[in-house]
């Protein structure tokens, strides 16, 4: 068993009086894909935004509990967010390319991080290949990223995140707006990426979680209902609610 990359203990997230997450204990293992599933408002996205520190942009959000990221340390709210995000990359639900060229999108973060200019071309190629996009864009890197299709844009967002060489990649429903073929390409990319990265995949789509993840956590109403190896959870869930959710009885 690989080591624990992210250790979460007794996490509580609230927005004003409303609790989005409470009593969450979760260990995320290195170099695996961990799927977070659950109906909307179950707290999956809040969990993600705690890990990448984006929760601090939400008005009135409060975070309690202990989160330790291997190689970074304890998250405290006062930690260095820029340093954190060099370790933790995020791909959002909607593909949001920066209004620049494909090339400039990929190297945006890497340039800021100080990667030397001479390495940028190679980095672009490597990251676009990892995101399964290289063949489609290699001849038009200087074109605007906004001209790509939705599926291509999302893979570009993945490549752009990879260019920071993060240890952890968070994907917040990355395929919610994509067609099945683009979705398959993203999943294909993930299966390769987990060799070098720890991946958290949030999805509403239980089938995607079943296909793409090694471990799965089921969230419901801000609580972690069940966590375990994907195969075990999907064939033999311990909790009745997990069973109902997987069978599509609610959610």
């Amino acid at each position: 068993m690989a080591g624990t990359k992210i250790r979460v203990r007794d996490l509580l997230v609230s927005y004003g009086a409303k609790e989005a997450l409470s009593g969450i204990d979760l260990d995320i293992y290195e170099n695996h894909v961990v799927g977070l599933m659950g109906p909307s408002a179950s707290g999956k996205s809040s969990f993600i935004s705690v890990i990448n520190g984006m929760i601090n942009f939400e008005d009135g959000a409060r975070v309690r509990g202990k989160i330790r990221i291997d190689g970074f340390g304890e998250l405290s709210g006062r930690h260095d967010h820029v340093a954190l995000r060099k370790k933790v990359g995020t791909v959002f639900a909607l593909p949001i390319p920066l209004p620049r060229s494909i090339y400039e999108n990929v190297v945006f973060g890497a340039k800021l991080k100080g990667v030397p200019r001479s390495e940028l071309n190679e980095l672009t190629e490597v990251c676009l290949k990892k995101a399964c996009l290289w063949d489609e864009v290699k001849n038009r890197l200087s074109e605007s990223a906004l001209k790509l299709s939705g599926g291509q844009q999302q893979r570009l967002c993945l490549a752009r995140t990879l260019a920071l060489r993060p240890e952890i990649i968070l994907l917040d429903e990355p395929c919610s707006g994509l067609d099945p073929i683009s979705t398959a390409k993203i999943e294909e990319a993930l299966s390769e990426l987990k060799r070098d990265h720890t991946i958290i995949l949030v999805s509403n789509n239980t089938k995607q979680i079943a296909r793409a993840s090694d471990f799965v956590a089921f969230f419901y109403m801000g609580r972690l209902i069940e966590f375990g190896p994907t195969e075990r959870v999907f064939t033999n869930p311990e909790d009745k609610m997990t069973d109902d959710y997987i069978r599509g009885k609610f959610g």
């Binding site: 942009f57 959002f92 800021l112 991080k113 906004l146």
Partner: protein, 278 residues
């Protein structure tokens, strides 16, 4: 009785079209009058030679130079200050009583008549700071005058940059400042540029505030401590004192043309920028 909706539609469309054409018509009329009266007297010599006999004879070269410098220097002063204020108000503070006070101040500044700016500039820059009637006094006064325009247009432009782009930038480990300079400002640039253009237009066409602070010397300004006379002021004095209506209108032609050129250049620049970032 029910009004026929299709008839209403036609009447409204006709009315609105008329209003739009009327607006453009006024602009065309103004430009036409100035051109008819002034264009026959516009020659290259008029632009590049010195005035004689109070401007009754000769050209307007010193005024052209004075106008260009006043416009450019005012923008050079006002842009950093204005855009900086806009960035502060939109990105570095949450809505609070402080931002409301700043905004109220900016709006009040916009409502002050230019003659008041002129008097202030005269008392503060010319007399108190002993800068005299000079390009510098004029520039500083006009900068303050155009500041509200730049702040407001920049603020609107920055606000219209999608919030998502900020999130993406932060998620890619950019600092706040990197996000401002590399993501927000490039996206907001066309809007900011519009504000700058409006401000240049105001600066070069201002008379009251400029007469009090830059003076109306007809000599060629060779340093920022020299007095000078902008084209707008020259026009005003020629017409007001009945020195030469021909020269006055010819000056107006040059002034209107330069504003037109500035606007077209800005429009072109804006499109290039939009093309680059989309």
């Amino acid at each position: 009785m029910r009004i026929n909706p299709r008839l209403t539609d036609k009447v409204v469309r006709g009315g609105l079209t008329f209003q739009a054409l009327f607006t453009v018509g006024i602009l065309v009329l103004i430009v036409a009058v100035i051109f008819v009266k002034g264009f026959p007297y516009v020659t290259a010599e008029f632009i590049f030679s010195y005035p004689q006999d109070m401007g009754r004879l000769g050209g307007i070269f010193p005024s052209v130079v004075g106008t260009v410098f006043l416009g450019l220097l005012s923008i050079a002063f006002a842009t950093p200050l204005g855009v900086g204020t806009a960035i502060y108000l939109t990105e570095y503070t949450k809505e609070s009583s402080l931002t409301r006070i700043i905004r109220f101040g900016v709006e009040s500044l916009a409502g002050i008549p230019s003659i008041i700016y002129g008097l202030f500039g005269f008392i503060f820059f010319v007399i108190k700071l002993k800068l005299g009637w000079s390009l510098l006094s004029g520039t500083l006064t006009v900068s303050i005058m155009v500041l509200p325009t730049i702040i407001r247009t920049s603020e609107e432009a920055i606000k219209s940059v999608p919030k998502n782009l900020r999130m993406v930038s932060f998620s890619l480990a950019a600092t706040k400042w990197e996000t401002v300079t590399r993501v927000i400002l490039p996206s907001a640039a066309p809007g900011i540029l519009t504000g700058i253009m409006l401000s240049i237009g105001r600066a070069v066409s201002e008379t009251a505030a400029v007469i009090f602070t830059m003076g109306s010397s007809l000599r060629l300004p060779t340093s920022i401590m020299d007095s000078g006379r902008t084209m707008a002021v020259h026009f005003y004095i020629l017409a007001r004192e009945g020195i030469s209506m021909e020269k006055a209108y010819a000056t107006a032609v040059i002034l209107v043309c330069s504003i037109l050129i500035i606007n077209i250049a800005a429009y072109y620049l804006m499109h290039k920028m939009i093309a680059r970032y989309s």
